[in-house]
């Protein structure tokens, strides 16, 4: 092996985890090679999506001001669908975008953001090689020492697997088996172009500000939900399904998603727009309990989605920020460790320090809450029925609301006891 083929670190995948790792390492003078299978960073990636800005601040303060981001989220929305009806909640907090400070979160499109972030890593001195699929890891004396892509072999002290939710690299390293169906969701999304002014009018937004919406009851009872994010000149509308449940339903997820797009409360928001892309991606749903038992071995670390770093509470989903944090943690471990054997244990300490593991632990209970039977059909239906009862005036004598609600709970195949249990479970996991 010749000197020029050897790097301090090789990173597989130039997404947010890989680029954050490369950026931090290159800034400290490490020689870093990022290998990306897409033609450009981000071209294989899909998000909902939203990005929490603090992670970029942690990478380098002020970086967010020039980042390829869409709109500052000041409207947090929740929507419950049932048939052709809907309930919407819009929580507006202008303080999520206070002048002079980093706004809390932005809507985001990954092709733009990932390419920009990889460029920043390059500016720090990292090397980026695109259009290359890493096929094998090179192992010597029980250590990972490099990667193979076609005829090419490249060597490094540490190889970082930042290759996403389908981490073939972690599988090849023997640290994980293939994904189990019940631990992931499949997300589908249309990007629909609309003029910025139209988006601002329809969503009651100030210029440059945006809305993030989570939607329950749009999956025909399948474990999952919808999302809508307002970008600068487009809307990201999508749906996530637990694939095992979707297969039992006997209807394609494409069809269910198209029904959702045509819902009378969704369709008018999109009208006049043009669909410019249709994407899909897996997302880890298992949270803390989904993190593999071992996320390193000598000469090898897993970061971002590859390590299962996603938090889904049902009302907010975090992945990109955790990916970036884990990339930074990996870089810190590599910088601080005296030798390759120390890197892995040090990485675990850094993950704790940077609060990924504690944050994921704290959100672990949401997994059980989101498994609650009836959550994806009976409950949003009940909520809509109750609203229907409140707002129906037909000249008759109104019944007792309490009695009506009890009747509606029964009609929806639910019981008071079930709802109390659900509430308790929710409280317990918070």
């Amino acid at each position: 092996m010749s000197e020029e083929e050897k790097f301090d670190v090789i990173i597989i995948g130039a997404g947010p985890a890989g680029s954050s790792c490369a950026y931090t390492l290159a800034r400290e003078g490490k020689s870093v090679l990022m290998i990306e299978r897409g033609d450009t960073p981000g071209s294989k990636n899909v998000t909902g999506g939203r990005f929490y800005t603090y992670a970029l601040e942690m990478l380098d303060s002020g970086l967010y001001e020039e980042a390829a981001l869409e709109r500052k989220v000041t409207h947090e929305q929740i929507m419950l669908l049932s048939g052709d009806r809907s309930i919407s909640i819009d929580y507006h907090e202008p303080g999520f975008n206070t002048g002079g400070e980093a706004p809390m979160s932005y809507t985001i499109l990954r092709a733009n953001f990932d390419e920009w972030l990889a460029e920043k890593a390059e500016e720090m001195g990292a090397m980026l090689a695109c259009g290359i699929r890493v096929e094998e890891l090179i192992e010597r004396d029980g250590k990972i020492v490099g990667v193979r892509a076609g005829e090419d072999e490249m060597y490094a002290d540490v190889v970082v697997a930042a290759d996403g939710v389908n981490s073939f690299m972690a599988q090849k390293a023997g640290l994980i088996k293939d994904i189990e169906a019940h631990t992931v969701g499949v997300g589908v999304k249309e990007v629909i172009e609309l003029p910025a002014r139209t988006i601002e009018e329809r969503f009651n937004l100030k210029e440059g500000e945006g809305a993030a919406r989570m939607i329950l009851g749009c999956t025909e009872g399948i474990h999952g939900g919808g999302f809508l994010y307002t970008n600068q000149d487009s809307i990201s509308l999508g749906c996530v399904f637990m694939p095992a449940k979707a297969a039992e339903r006997g209807k394609t997820i494409h069809e269910i998603f198209q029904d959702f797009k045509m819902h009378p409360s969704i369709h008018p928001l999109l009208q006049g727009g043009l669909t410019v892309e249709y994407g899909a991606h897996l997302v880890s749903e298992a949270g803390y309990r989904g993190i593999p038992r071992k996320i390193y071995r000598e000469g090898f670390l897993m970061v971002g989605d590859a390590a299962g770093f996603v938090i889904n509470t049902g009302y907010s989903i975090r992945g990109i920020d955790l990916a970036m944090l884990s990339g930074i943690a990996a870089a810190r471990a590599i910088i601080d460790a005296e030798n390759t054997a120390e890197v892995g244990p040090q990485y675990l300490k850094e993950l704790d320090e940077i609060k990924i593991i504690p944050a994921m632990k704290a959100a672990d209970g949401f997994f059980d809450v989101l498994e609650t039977p009836g959550l994806y059909d009976k409950m949003p239906n009940l909520a809509n029925d109750v609203f229907n009862n409140l707002f129906t005036v037909d000249g008759g004598v109104p019944g007792s609301i309490k009695k009506d609600v009890m009747r509606l709970i029964k009609e929806n195949g639910l019981s008071m006891w079930q709802l109390i249990k659900f509430g308790l479970k929710g409280v317990k996991s918070l």
């Binding site: 299978r37 450009t40 071209s43 695109c130 494409h254």
Partner: protein
């Protein structure tokens, strides 16, 4: 423009693909697929690339693949004998993502 229900091929036509004509990245064993009763791939592929032909057998085209991996995860009978990412620079290229 008006927003309408779109069939999968129509949606996929909005994407940029560079199809690897020499090397399919997903390969099925049709004999195994024949024996599979549930056929979850028919419902879970976002691009609806798995279909039934006139004989009730799976027909599949890898050209519009969005590379999500759902079919692999859901394939219990292992009729999908190979599932790799397309070779470097081939496959879908998201312009928005």
């Amino acid at each position: 423009m008006s927003i309408e229900r779109m069939e999968a091929p129509q949606l996929l036509s909005r994407n940029r693909f560079n199809v690897d004509e020499e090397e399919p990245h997903i390969v099925l064993d049709r004999e195994i697929c024949k024996k599979c009763i549930e056929k979850p791939c028919l419902y879970v592929c976002p691009a609806v690339l798995y279909k039934l032909d006139q004989n009730g057998e799976i027909s599949f085209d890898y050209a519009g693949c969005l590379e999500c991996g759902t079919c692999r995860v859901m394939c219990k009978t292992q009729g999908i004998v190979r599932w790799e990412y397309p070779r470097g620079s081939f496959g879908v290229s998201f312009r928005y993502g």
